[in-house]
Amino acid sequence: MTAIYLLFILMLSVFVGFELIRKVPATLHTPLMSGANAISGITVIGALALAGGEYGQWSTWLGAIAVFLATVNVVGGYLVTDRMLAMFKKK
């Protein structure tokens, strides 16, 4: 039954995602891609439980690697997006 609830959540957020990006000016394509990319680093919250929990040594290390990689994605992604958008304002 949990799977069904999760599918509901999936379906609704897919619609929200579609609706959000209906009209976006061409100049914002790259920053939007970069900003959305940073959001996909949300994997980090899944990785945290694996890195800090007791699921065996191999899982712990994989989890730690995932935390590291996802943090690079998140921190780098948001900073790069901000740099791009800051550049737009000056124009």
Binding site: S34, W58, V67, L69, N73
Partner: protein
């Protein structure tokens, strides 16, 4: 303390709802030029509170590795984002995207490797996260290499490429079946990951030149879907919401970018296989 007053998992999931709302507002603001920067900040704030509240999870018992990983990851992220030349931005976005895909791959792998008596459903969605994460990773690395002129930028095609792709997909389906039936056999883990990585390379090789931004956008959408699949495996609502937001908005953005170039997504993805068509204007 706090635990005795309210259930921690309830608190965590409540904060996840707030975080998801902020992500949605963030994306909304990000799609208008005047509010874009604020939108980005809002989405960063959503990420921060999600990470902080996740650390309250009772399943997390040791913090040393987490702390080291987060600090190291932040340092690399800040360094890369500050050092990069403005002209090399698309490459960096592609590389970050690949790193995100690799993170999803690692999460899925850890779930399969660390789980005892996992249900077929969990194994299946973990496999999906593994597959999409790996394709995102190797595809993004090829896209990055093409954009930064580390490898040839034009479409790479060879004889029988379509047949190789079909065989590759068949091999992935077969190895996935083995993985789901015998999750404890590590050989299947390596097999699925290896084949999926190859798939990502094969996917991006026949695309080149001006089509690269479209591919990066599509791979960006994939990295969201990988996070979403990982969310199903871990039964984490926020992973599903944020992942599918990125997945859906990425597909739409890809479509908009194709239209801006007067092309269809199918023609972009198969561009290497088609003869060059010149249209008279």
């Amino acid at each position: 303390m706090l635990d005795s007053i309210i259930d921690t998992s309830l608190l965590i999931n409540f904060v996840y709802v707030i975080s998801a709302t902020l992500f949605i507002f963030g994306l909304k603001l990000l799609s208008h030029p005047s509010t874009a920067r604020k939108g980005n900040l809002l989405s960063a704030l959503a990420m921060l509170i999600a990470i902080v509240v996740t650390l309250l999870d009772k399943q997390i018992i040791s913090f040393e590795l987490i702390l080291v990983s987060i600090l190291a990851g932040s340092a690399v992220g800040v360094y890369a984002a500050k050092k990069i030349e403005m002209t090399s931005m698309p490459e960096l976005v592609s590389l970050f995207n690949g790193i995100g895909g690799l993170a999803s791959l690692a999460v899925a792998w850890a779930t399969i490797a660390g789980g005892v008596n996992l249900s077929t459903f969990v194994l299946f969605v973990s496999f999906l996260a593994l597959l999409i994460g790996a394709i995102t990773f190797s595809g993004s690395v090829v896209a990055w290499a093409k954009l930064s002129e580390r490898m040839i930028g034009r479409p790479v095609v060879f004889k029988g490429q379509a047949i190789v792709n079909v065989l590759l997909i068949a091999a992935i389906v077969a190895s996935a079946t083995l993985l789901i039936q015998q999750p404890e056999v590590t050989t299947w883990h390596y097999l699925v990951i290896g084949l999926a990585l190859l798939m990502g390379v094969m996917f991006v090789l026949p695309i080149g030149g001006a089509d690269m931004p479209v591919v990066i956008s599509l791979l960006n959408s994939y990295s969201g879907l990988a996070a979403c699949a990982a969310g199903f495996a871990l039964e984490n609502n926020l992973l599903i919401v944020a992942g599918s937001l990125v997945g859906a908005s990425g597909i739409i953005l890809t479509n908009i970018m194709c239209k801006a170039m007067n092309r269809s997504l199918v023609s972009v993805l198969t561009s290497g296989f088609q003869p060059v068509v010149t249209s008279e204007m």
